[in-house]
């Protein structure tokens, strides 16, 4: 069965790049530019993994993560934070709220991003 990914990223070019690459790798991807839209999509569909940008207009990524973890239906969903190198405090905060892991956008090339997403979706006991 195809794995379903929810991608929340405000930069359109990066969003479409990741969406395209993940699709090519065999994932089903729904992509949104804001936390509000992303949360709405979560209400209506089932997903296997959320890729969540932190710097978002309006509701920021950590708040979105909190909402996901507070909701009984989505609290066990794996959420991977998308960040840039050097945002350690945000990463730490994310782990505290319940993130499964993080990806550093500025340090991975598109192939590496896909590879990491595969690891997250396959490995059920993924931990740092």
């Amino acid at each position: 069965m195809m794995q379903k990914i929810l991608l929340i990223e405000d930069d359109r070019f990066i969003r479409e790049m990741y969406q395209e690459e993940l699709k090519k790798a065999g994932f089903l991807v729904s992509a949104y530019g804001s936390g509000e839209e992303g949360l709405q999509a979560l209400q209506q569909n089932h997903f296997d993994l959320v890729l969540l940008d932190i710097m978002l207009p309006g509701m920021n990524g950590l708040e979105v993560l909190k909402q996901i973890k507070l909701n009984l239906q989505t609290k066990n969903l794996k959420v991977v934070i998308l960040t840039n190198l050097g945002q350690e405090t945000i990463i730490k905060e994310g782990f505290k709220i319940g993130a499964t892991g993080y990806l550093i956008k500025s340090s991975y090339n598109p192939d590496q991003i896909v590879q990491e997403v595969k690891r997250f979706t396959q490995d059920n006991s993924y931990s740092f």
């Binding site: 930069d11 070019f13 790049m17 840039n84 190198l85 050097g86 500025s106």
Partner: protein, 430 residues
């Protein structure tokens, strides 16, 4: 007529006895003595008067002098207290028992305490001084010694002072002593310079740079990503002209990425927020990844870039992959940048004791001996490098050193001017 003569006559009226005779002669003698005495007394009183006069005048003079001195002392004291009140630095003076004896206006402002509240109190009851997170005892920041040394006994920048109700201020501190301290019960003179304004400005500057650089990063991530995809999917279909154009775009992008990352790293180092996420790392694979990023730049200059992989598996090392890659990237970029066309760059690894040492050797221009000790300082560039047409910021090696050191490793350079250089760094084996 003297009394005794009258007395004599009166008595002789009663009887002319021998007793009266004797008394009478005695009196006559005494009379002469007395005259003598009176005369001498008269004389010495004159002398005395003289002496007295002299004394009086001397006393008056002393009085005037004392008044003058008192005036001078008062003026001196006023001068000191006005000066103390007027200077912007806080001045706190303690006696030999660390009790406060002087506390100027600026000290009141800095600490929040009033002079009357602190006089005579032990200094550690009034202020606390921290270096980063460790509290300094008064014996360190305000030493009182028994020798007669005069001058600065302690000086430190970037300390934190806590005053009334835990009020915190960043300060530079200077402690000094005077030679006569023991005689006048003066232990130590503290001068505290409030640097919180500077700190704030510095922080703002760093925040601004960091914000601007973060903004640069989003489009850069896009450029890098799309270029990667383009080259991956279409490189084979392109002719050599197209490939060479794209290769230049790629190299320039790579350079821009390093510049941006270096700027960010410097702001992190300055802010003290350069932290590590240590994980077991496949060091050989890691080196290959970084080489893959720079290979275009090497090929562009026809530089032969080799990695001599170790024959035996390496011991485990813990490192922050992304941070340590910045070290490799900076050292490799330098080797490629500063080595002439057709040069040679080799990466090799060595396990020595409890360390893995990574060397980057080039046969470039080398570095003059006198420049080697300065290589790893911020903004340092060897003069003359510009003639080789290379531009840089002088930040690369400074960052490399900072990153290696928080990994508890060491970094160094060996070079023979005109022959080439080897940059090396060690990482501890776990």
């Amino acid at each position: 007529m003297p009394y005794h003569k009258i007395l004599e006559r009166q008595i002789s009226k009663f009887s002319g006895g021998e007793l009266f005779q004797a008394i009478s002669t005695t009196y006559t003698h005494s009379d002469e003595d007395r005259a003598l005495l009176e005369r001498s007394l008269e004389l010495s009183s004159k002398e005395l008067e003289e002496v007295n006069k002299q004394l009086q005048s001397e006393r008056d003079q002393i009085e005037i002098q004392v008044q003058q001195r008192t005036q001078e002392l008062k003026a001196e004291r006023n001068k000191i207290s006005v000066t103390l009140a007027g200077i912007v630095d806080a001045v706190i003076v303690v006696d030999l028992n660390h009790n406060i004896i002087i506390f100027n206006k600026a000290a009141e402002k800095l600490t929040g305490f009033q002079l009357s509240e602190v006089l005579g109190k032990p200094i550690n009851q009034i202020i606390k001084i921290f270096d980063k997170n460790t509290e300094l005892p008064p014996s360190t920041f305000c030493p009182v010694s028994s020798d007669d040394f005069e001058g600065i006994v302690y000086s430190k920048e970037d300390l934190i002072l806590t005053g009334l109700k835990g009020k915190q201020t960043y300060i530079n501190l200077l402690a000094s002593q005077i030679e006569e301290g023991r005689d006048v019960n003066l232990g130590c003179i503290l001068t505290l310079y409030d640097i919180s304004k500077e700190k704030q400005l510095e922080e703002m500057r760093l925040d601004f740079v960091s914000m601007a650089v973060h903004e640069l990063r989003t489009p850069l991530t896009s450029i890098k990503g799309y270029l990667y995809i383009y080259l991956r999917d279409y490189k084979k279909a392109l002719d050599s002209k197209q490939n060479s154009l794209l290769s230049r775009i790629n190299i320039s992008t790579q350079r821009l990425v390093s510049l941006v990352e270096n700027l960010l790293n410097v702001t992190r180092i300055e802010k003290g927020t350069l932290t590590l996420n240590l994980q077991p790392i496949d060091w050989v694979q890691n080196i290959n990844e970084v080489i893959a990023e720079i290979i275009d730049q090497a090929q562009d200059k026809n530089i032969e870039l080799n990695f001599t992989e170790p024959t035996k598996p390496l011991s485990h090392i813990l490192a922050d992959k992304f941070r340590i890659n910045e070290v490799l990237a900076n050292l490799l970029a330098n080797a490629v940048n500063y080595t002439r066309q057709e040069g040679k760059v080799t990466v090799w690894i060595e396990e020595k004791g409890s360390e893995v040492i990574t060397h980057i050797t080039d046969n470039g221009p080398g570095i003059p001996k006198e420049a080697i000790p300065h290589l790893f300082t911020k903004f340092f560039r060897v003069s003359g490098s510009l003639e080789q047409g290379s531009k840089g910021t002088g930040l690369g090696l400074y960052i490399a050193k900072s990153i290696v050191e928080i990994h508890k490793g060491k970094i160094w350079a060996e070079s023979e001017f005109g022959k080439g250089s080897t940059f090396s760094f060690s990482l501890p084996i776990v």
